[in-house]
Point group: C2
Chain length 259, copies 2
């Protein structure tokens, strides 16, 4: 029986979603161990995508095929009783037999948090990237507009990635200044290349510091050269907010786990 | 020379503000050690009040008398370069010679965060108290109104406290439901008895669960009996937001440390 899971995790204590060489504790492994404990057979959990080490999620979606059936709400409770405090299942529902969490995703939304106070903020240090130099929000917004839309984002892809088709649709790139010195990037797209969100953030931050022309984004995209883009911003500032599955997928049912 | 400090700390790693028997790491001690390292002599730091172990602060105020003078902004930077990641100085200014952080405070504002989702929330577990049973915000607001004003709050004071005058002015007790299942109590008063804020929160939570009549607050206050009030809510949900010093104190200058 195929189930769909809505997941929240604090990435600080995980070596990312999926085991890589030498990784010690991954979200996928911790989930699979929980299914074993529930006597649900050797389960293979497939995420909508792999979040890097240190990246958080408040709406990751995964599919899992279990050897026996469960009542979804009971499965959710049973999992949460086993899972550690930094990983929780927010919702469970039965998925159609052909559901593929990765392939069926039609979009993803990320949030990147920047703390732009002069002093570092102890209450934000775990999930906000601290930039002490005052950032110019206006020019960051200007640069963001140029990045919106369907482009070849090759220059924002981590070196060493073997993805060939690097065209993606960036649907939303919002620069929002909230209370005090909190600056938030809201980033939504059809899909993202490896490190693309963090490199977008790192590049916008260079613009905000005045180190990069806000009108240079078109030329940067055209370069297709990773070395022309800004640095990869730290993982701890990044949160996967939600995964979209188009009109057909009953996302509402899953999200109802949060009352 | 007397200085005033505006402080932020994550209470998780501290045994509260001030050393008590057996306490290992307190905010006060860590600050005093930093002043020693700056060669500012044996400094005694006085807080506006003692926060308990695990309680956070984003606007604690303290006074410190140093054996030599410093330029306030330089002192702030020097302290932040020494202090650990869970404690930061947001602002420093010179105080008048008779400034007393505790005695001069005319009010304090606290925030108590309750996560009312059915599942626990990994991204909130460090600073939100999880209550899985759905809470009724309307009755909590109703009870809050009855607690507002000047009353004898003896029933909300921790047993064992030796404070005799237990009359306080509760100026604000707001129950706010924010996004999703986040419920926030905003609590402002002339001053608070030991554990008073957390016992107010614990009592409101009993009302919200339907275990206590929202119209019983007057009788509860009249009882002056700690055993009649609700449990002390967990420390991790509590944050000291700000300390008020009346019209005379230049709080604005201090707060300007956050750009």
């Amino acid at each position: 029986v195929l189930f769909r899971l809505l997941l929240e995790y604090d990435g600080s204590g995980f070596s990312g979603w999926q085991s890589q060489a030498g990784a010690t504790r991954t979200v996928q492994e911790v989930l699979e161990a929980a299914f074993e404990q529930l006597d649900a057979g050797p389960a293979r959990v497939t995420g909508s995508g792999r979040t890097d080490a240190g990246v958080h999620a408040e709406g990751q979606v995964a599919g899992v095929s279990l050897s026996r059936d469960f009542e979804p709400e009971a499965l959710k409770r049973a999992l949460n009783a086993i899972l550690p405090a930094d990983l929780a299942v927010l919702g469970v529902d039965r998925a159609s037999a052909d559901f593929d969490a990765r392939r069926d995703a039609t979009g993803k939304t990320y949030r990147y948090g920047v703390w732009n106070g002069r002093a570092s903020s102890p209450l934000r240090s775990a999930r906000w990237h601290h930039v002490a130099i005052p950032l110019d929000i206006v020019v960051m917004k200007q640069a963001a507009v140029e990045l919106l839309g369907t482009h070849d984002f090759a220059c924002f892809q981590a070196a060493g990635s073997d993805v060939v088709d690097t065209v993606r649709d960036l649907r939303r790139l919002e620069v929002a200044g909230r209370t005090g010195a909190e600056i938030v990037f809201l980033i939504e797209g059809s899909g993202f290349l490896w490190h693309m969100v963090r490199t977008l953030a790192g590049t916008l931050l260079e613009v905000g510091r005045g180190r990069r022309d806000p009108n240079s984004m078109g030329a940067l995209l055209a370069s297709r050269d990773r070395r022309q883009a800004g640095p990869t911003a730290p993982a701890k500032g990044l949160t996967l907010v939600s995964v979209e599955y188009g009109a057909g997928a009953a996302k509402g049912a899953l999200a109802s786990g949060v009352s």
